[in-house]
């Protein structure tokens, strides 16, 4: 008898101890702080819409900046937002009508096969422009529209000139802003101005007159913010990153012209009279520059950028960049880079002032891109702004992939938490896809 009681007591003790052996996990309560996250609306360009790999397509939209922020706001009382999804099997559509990029083998003009962004189909899925997705009962929360510039946000009838808005607008006369306000938001976020500077930079700095002046920028931005504040919304607005850090502008080295003795001699014979010299090894490419000399050509300088739109086969096989200087549309000169950066600073000081005036959360997207530029470790993964291997950019070299968007969404959440004393947890960016390798 005595023995069985002892066994019983010992047995109970051991069972208790074994169950005590697993640490208890208590999920923290998340607080919305002083925001009402119920109905979230975000306006912006490509990143906000989920545009990546140079196309709007389903998987990209699933990981749109607006969607990822909304997902976390759901933890503090937000409702799931509606998104204007492209159908799941679609290869997507770029601004120029192309299909999305995938990473695959591409054989170049020299018959060398290498991994490269390759279009998933010969043509983009133009059918998505015929979509009529507006539903008054289920207003969208994501008003990210690829290529949306600041001055177009409040432009009535914008859907007739940009089909990406055309498929989601409430009526032909609608503006992005009017539809966003009609969604009855309680909290808003803006990531605007990026497409403006991008469109200038992607053109190789061709039309700087298309960039809004600082006063135009201020007026338009205030108009949008005031409209939301008029509804009683609180919100987060983001600064504009230095777009010239994007791999689209940094992947092709300025001195990527590799010459052997014979080719160097040939080029020296041609160009020495103009004071341009070539040596065996790496050399700067020849570019067009109307101001350079009577021929309007010169060598590209260190710090100047060759764009990813540069036709590399022409460079490799048809003397582009040597006998035929690279056209201005593929180059950002030092002057153009300085112009972009100065303009971004101007826009950013306006955005900062507006955020301070209205006590909005100010998102330091610019600082995040800078941090990415210098590289950092994220939970054991090294992230940088290097094309493909850097882990953050999609295959277009401009817009982030899902992982990059998650990291940027975390910057929005961080700013919201700081400004509104909320405790919205960050996304685990490691959970999101980067580039898929064949």
């Amino acid at each position: 008898m005595k023995k069985s009681i002892l066994t019983y007591i010992l047995g109970t003790c051991v069972v208790t101890l074994f169950s005590a052996c697993k640490p208890e996990f208590k999920q923290e309560e998340n607080s919305p702080g002083s925001i009402d996250a119920t109905s979230f609306v975000m306006i912006g360009g490509g990143s906000v819409s989920g545009f990546m790999d140079d196309a709007l397509y389903f998987e990209g939209q699933k990981n749109a900046l607006a969607q990822l922020i909304a997902q976390q706001l759901e933890l503090v009382g937000g409702k799931e937002i509606h998104q204007p999804y492209v159908s799941q099997g679609s290869n997507g559509l770029s601004l120029e009508g192309n299909a999305r990029f995938k990473l695959n083998y591409r054989t170049d003009c020299k018959d060398i096969s290498a991994l490269s962004p390759v279009r998933a189909a010969a043509s983009g899925d133009l059918s998505i422009l015929n979509d009529v997705l507006y539903n008054g009962q289920k207003p969208f929360g994501n008003f990210g529209v690829p290529d949306l510039r600041l001055l177009q946000v409040n432009e009535a009838g914008y859907g007739t000139q940009n089909g990406f808005f055309g498929r989601i607008m409430s009526a032909a006369s609608a503006s992005v802003l009017s539809d966003a306000l009609a969604a009855n938001p309680t909290f808003f976020a803006l990531y605007l101005g990026v497409e403006d500077v991008l469109s200038y930079a992607k053109s190789g700095g061709k039309n700087n007159s298309e960039l809004p002046s600082l006063s135009e920028f201020q007026t338009a931005y205030e108009e949008i913010v005031n409209a939301f504040i008029g509804l009683g919304c609180k919100g987060a607005i983001s600064l504009i990153p230095d777009v010239t850090q994007m791999p689209y502008f940094t992947t092709i080295p300025y001195n990527g012209l590799t010459l052997d003795a014979e080719n160097a001699q040939t080029l020296n014979n041609i160009y020495n009279p103009l004071d341009f010299y070539f040596e065996v090894g790496s050399n700067p490419f020849m570019i067009e520059d109307g101001n350079a000399n009577q021929f309007g050509i010169r060598q590209i300088l260190e710090g100047e950028k060759l764009l990813l739109s540069l036709p590399l086969d022409s460079v490799k096989c048809n003397q582009m960049g040597t006998l035929f200087p690279i056209r201005n549309e593929f180059v950002l000169t030092l002057e153009e880079i300085a112009f972009i950066q100065t303009r971004i600073q101007g826009y950013n000081s306006i955005i900062t002032t507006i955020a301070n005036q209205h006590n909005l959360a100010l998102v330091r997207a610019d600082a995040f891109y800078d941090k990415l530029q210098s590289g950092f470790m994220y939970n054991g993964v090294s992230m940088s702004s290097t094309f493909v291997s850097g882990g953050a950019y999609s295959l277009d070299g401009i817009y982030f992939n899902a992982k990059g968007n998650a990291l940027l969404a975390n910057e929005f959440l961080k700013a919201i938490n700081i400004r509104y004393n909320s405790t919205i947890p960050a996304l685990n960016a490691g959970y999101f896809n980067a580039t898929i390798f064949p």
Binding site: F18, Y105, L115, F376, M377, G380, A426, G430, P438
Partner: protein, 411 residues
């Protein structure tokens, strides 16, 4: 008898690997059930063959031939809570199986010489994290195991002073797995597995001094042992297009097992009640870097050197034993050890922290020849840190329980 003993040892060697994450760093202190019952202390108190580990000098005062086989199944669970996402992730580590086997022999009754053979597992750990956990690119699984084989010679100089020393041959293995941040066509992450066998040599020496009938002192030194992996195998599961960047091939690495200096005290209050205290000084600063040297390097695969920067630490262990009635002894103990892992260096492989633990034990002797010991160990610890290398930032909470048993036959 010796033949039978060797057979038992052989069985143990093939059956078990030491796999647990207990003790400071990856040190494991389960080498004797009686000592485990008394807070893992016993450097100045001879009790049984386990003294071959705790103090070869104490063995000089044994007066028996014995075989002692012990096993301590160990259950440890760690919860990691990521500070940014507030998500929790757990380990699914397998049961740890530290064991010890001791054979103790006196040549003849009058001799001052004692011979012993000890086989035990003082270092090792297996940490297996749940699938898709947030630190998967730092570590998914690490298995370290080592088995020490220590032939020992002890000599009793007089009734007060005993000396002993053993030569250690250490055989071990390592298996490290983690995910790589590149994705297969199906979205699965690539992974790396590094595995290899390791060997090392060292020694364990001790002095035991009986100051009075009641008061004993012990001092031991266990040397540092470098476990070298000279011909490991690195295997990569990567997308086909990246296979040339991550070639499978040999690698070299090494892991230092630190030196340990222990001062022990024992005091017999009565014939039935004894108390022991051990103070360890562990030379963890030997573990400053974890390096992997791949034979085939590529732009994607370079040799790695990760700073560990462990520091030397003290640990304090103590306990009491009380003979309740004929043949039955109860034990109670506990201890505290500082962590060798500095701020900024906590990793998923050894989520270590300062730790407090408690132990309990009992023995029962069935007549003159055969006895059974049992013990129970419990600890919990918590470490919050941001790792300087990976930026993993969060808190690790570990709870561990280890019930142990040993069988002793003496003649």
């Amino acid at each position: 008898m010796i033949n039978r003993f060797v057979f038992v040892l052989f069985l143990l060697l093939v059956t078990f690997h030491a796999q647990i994450s207990l003790g400071q760093g990856f040190q494991v202190n389960f080498q004797g059930q009686k000592q485990q019952g008394m807070g893992l202390a016993g450097t100045a108190y001879y009790q049984d063959g386990a003294s071959l580990f705790f103090n070869p000098g104490s063995v000089a005062f044994s007066n028996e031939n014995s075989v002692n086989v012990g096993f301590t199944p160990t259950f440890a669970n760690t919860l990691y809570v990521d500070s940014a996402t507030q998500q929790g992730y757990r380990t699914n580590s397998p049961m740890g199986t530290p064991f010890s086997a001791y054979g103790l022999f006196k040549l003849k009754d009058s001799s001052n010489v004692r011979l012993g053979l000890a086989v035990y597992t003082p270092f090792g750990s297996t940490v297996q994290w749940e699938d898709n956990w947030i630190g998967r690119f730092a570590l998914t699984r690490l298995q370290l195991s080592s088995i020490f084989i220590q032939p020992t010679f002890s000599y009793r100089i007089n009734e007060k002073l005993g000396l002993g020393a053993g030569f250690i041959v250490s055989v071990g293995s390592v298996n490290l797995q983690r995910d790589l941040p590149v994705q297969h066509p199906n979205g699965e992450y690539a992974s790396a597995e590094l595995s290899g066998r390791a060997y090392g040599f060292g020694f364990n020496a001790g002095i035991h001094y009986n100051v009075t009938e009641k008061f004993g002192l012990g001092l031991t030194y266990r040397s540092r042992i470098n476990m070298g992996v000279s011909n490991g195998t690195a295997a990569f599961d990567v997308p086909e297009s990246l296979e040339a960047n991550f070639p499978d091939g040999p690698f070299q690495s090494s892991l230092p097992l630190p030196q340990v200096i222990t001062l022990g005290l024992s005091y017999k209050f009565t014939e039935k009640l004894v108390a022991v205290l051990d103070i360890n000084y562990v030379g963890w600063s030997a573990y400053d870097t974890l390096a992997f040297d791949y034979e085939k390097n590529t732009p994607s695969l370079s040799d790695t050197k990760s700073a560990r920067n462990y520091v030397n630490i003290f640990a304090f262990r103590g306990g009491v034993a009380y003979d309740v009635w004929k043949g039955l002894t109860l034990r109670l103990g506990g201890g505290f050890g500082f962590t060798p892992v500095q701020a900024g260096y906590a990793t998923p492989e050894t989520p270590d922290a300062n730790r407090l633990y408690g132990t309990f034990g009992l023995s029962y002797a069935f007549g003159d020849h055969f006895s059974v010991d049992a013990s129970l160990y419990y600890t919990q610890l918590k470490r919050s840190d941001t790792n300087l290398e990976t930026n993993l930032s969060g808190s690790y909470t570990t709870k561990a329980i280890a019930p142990g048993i040993s069988l002793i036959y003496k003649w």
